[in-house]
Amino acid sequence: MTAVLLSVAIEADGSYVRVEREQSESWAQTASHSVRSSPIFPVTPSVARLPETENFWIGFFYYQQAFLTIGEAVAELDDQRQSELWYSHGLATPIIIASDISVIEGFERDYQSRLRAIEIWEVRAGVLVRSSTRLSPAMKIDPKALSLVACASFDADTRSLVSQLQQSLMTAAAAAAQFAPRDIGVFAEVVHAANETISELAFLIQQSGTPPLSVSRDVVQAILTDSVQRQQRIHQRIGDLVQLNSTLSYVISQSYSGRPPILLHPSPFISYQLLGVGTAARALSALCRFVESRFAEHSICSTIDTKYRLLPPVEEFVNLQNFDPGKWRDFARKEKLDFHFDSAAPEVVKPRLLYFSSRLGFRESEFTLTAAAQVLELSCTARWNLITMSHELIHAHVRAILAAIFAGTAETCTSSEFARFCDIFAQARDGDHAGLHLIDSLRNAIFSYAKHRQPARRLAKAASATTKSRLRDSVPKSDAASLRDCLTGSFRILNEIIVHTLDYYYFYNGSTSTYVTLLWQSWATVPAVLEHLDEYLLRTLIPVSTKFHGNTNERLTQSIAETKGAIEAIVTSTPTNGVAAAALARLSEPRAREEFVPEFLFGSYLAELTRHFLLSAVMQAALREGDDNVDVDSDGDEWTYSLDSLTFPGFTVTSPVAFLIDRLVRASRGENTGVDEEALSAWTLLACASAEVSI
């Protein structure tokens, strides 16, 4: 048996409960407005069975570690008891459906550890005649730790925003204290972030008092003398509060819907309205917290802040003539950059708020991360795998890296330092590196990429319109205004190249087949990819090329060959993937290589910079270390996660990255064929949720 639907129709004369394979037509037609349903899945499909009469009991268990508890139970319970055990996307997992309440009470007694709450329903003749709830003691909350600073000087609109935020924080914290104590730390961090924002806003409005720590001396001066800039900053900070408010509403409704009393807390996701998606939200949290904590522990930014300001400069090849990535590789080895990464001071973990979104899909911003809502039903597929979040998590990481590279001092800011940065760039272009350090070289190389970005686009266009082998174009000036324009104009694609390169190594361990499978299966659902096929191909070819040596042509040729092979495999296994088929056709065109040369040349320059100066082997290993279920082959290249589908082994996942990549590889091998995708997806999320780390 696979998934069944647990439904409740709330009518004037009572609540009717059904457990059935599909929602009955009569319910759908006559009472759809009041029916709430959620799919539930058998823990042991081979013995699972539905109630034989309309008289039964349902026990909804809320555990801190449901996956672990189910595993412990499966090892001890006989087939009869296992046949009554189910799991869901919601916080209520496991669920026991039995003809006798003693089964539920026995489970509660035997598996008390980690139990946060239980709700029991008695159903007679299909009607919910009684429900009861028992809660474990909630974690104590210090209201002061969740209090926002006063905002009496604000206008009514902004005061209202702050007031809403305060109420949302208290609601979220109260729910977390009962059902997910680990989340309290997250909300405390939101309070810190909101208070910093409010303090800055107060200073911007009043233009007096002690300047907040969130602005530098130069910015304070600008605020006091430039009313337009002051207003722009006010808009920014109010925007931050709006974003926090909106996000908290999503978090509360998704993370804690389906909590007891169940009928009072429906989920906004119609397919999961009865029990919610609390466990799925925990899976998202487990993955993101794990990665955030690893990035904080092995902080590249700390290394840039300190060591890169002391280490000697490296030749930037600012005009890209005779660019030789081998020299960068040799420099990184000579200066032992991995040692510096390993010994860098950790950065404080500041968790983001997380939720699923149908509208935003996979996205990140300063305060939030969202995953596509399709993950809920299809997380076992390559198209909607939760590991796609890696890209968003790295965007957040790269934002910090670029900020560190372009940072001013404690008293200055990027604006007031930019002219000096441009002078340093000019100095390096003249071949003079006196007094410069590695951080200057990185900034110079980024300037160099930015300067060549637009010519590269024009050259690529020209290459596709001619059979000539030599093309000419012009590059912008290197004055401060031009360089800023170049940086602004290329900032998006510059970010993408760095992100893709880090993603390729950190999460996919440089495995082209795994990486390409994830990219081109997930991109099959994105309309923009076909419209901009060459750019998406370059986003694949450029990171892959960094594993090869040789000149530009050699690296591009090898990257095309390897990428083409991986896309070919997708087209063979998934003939319906028209996007991958179009990509394969493009790579097979006779002049594809020549036409890719212009953008590849400059893009690979930036990717090589990333590979040698912004990527830490320590961090790469940290994403997999510490989990006994990870098996690595003798070369250290391929690794698997020893956990069979739909099983409950009685342990928790420690590395959700290793676990999810393994699921992705299994999906691409066709191992999920014939398996109920929704059940496997719910199980994947439940197992992933077990990897939660405390903040």
Binding site: R363, A400, F406
Partner: protein, 89 residues
């Protein structure tokens, strides 16, 4: 979210490049935070002329480059800095 000192750097770089123009509402469904159609790609610094799509007309430029598509090599023509830089290495 970021530690305060990092957040300050991020906001200053963002403000410098984009002058605090808030991100526009999404126009299309995008799986990728910074892919085509993303609001950020449409942001321009106030007063700036150039963007990704209209950077620099050739008449404003002072340096000429030549790219050999067969060999993938780039060279600067009529440009003093590049040759200076290369010969000094």
């Amino acid at each position: 979210m970021y530690p305060l000192s990092r957040l300050r750097q991020i906001r200053e770089l963002d403000f410098f490049l984009f002058r605090g123009i808030p991100e526009a509402p999404d126009q299309t469904f995008e799986r990728d935070s910074n892919s085509f159609g993303d609001s950020r790609s449409t942001r321009r610094p106030l007063g700036a002329v150039s963007t990704e799509h209209d950077v620099q007309s050739e008449s404003d430029a002072v340096e000429q480059i030549e790219l050999d598509l067969d060999t993938g090599t780039l060279s600067y023509v009529n440009q003093e800095h590049s040759t200076q830089a290369d010969t000094k290495k």
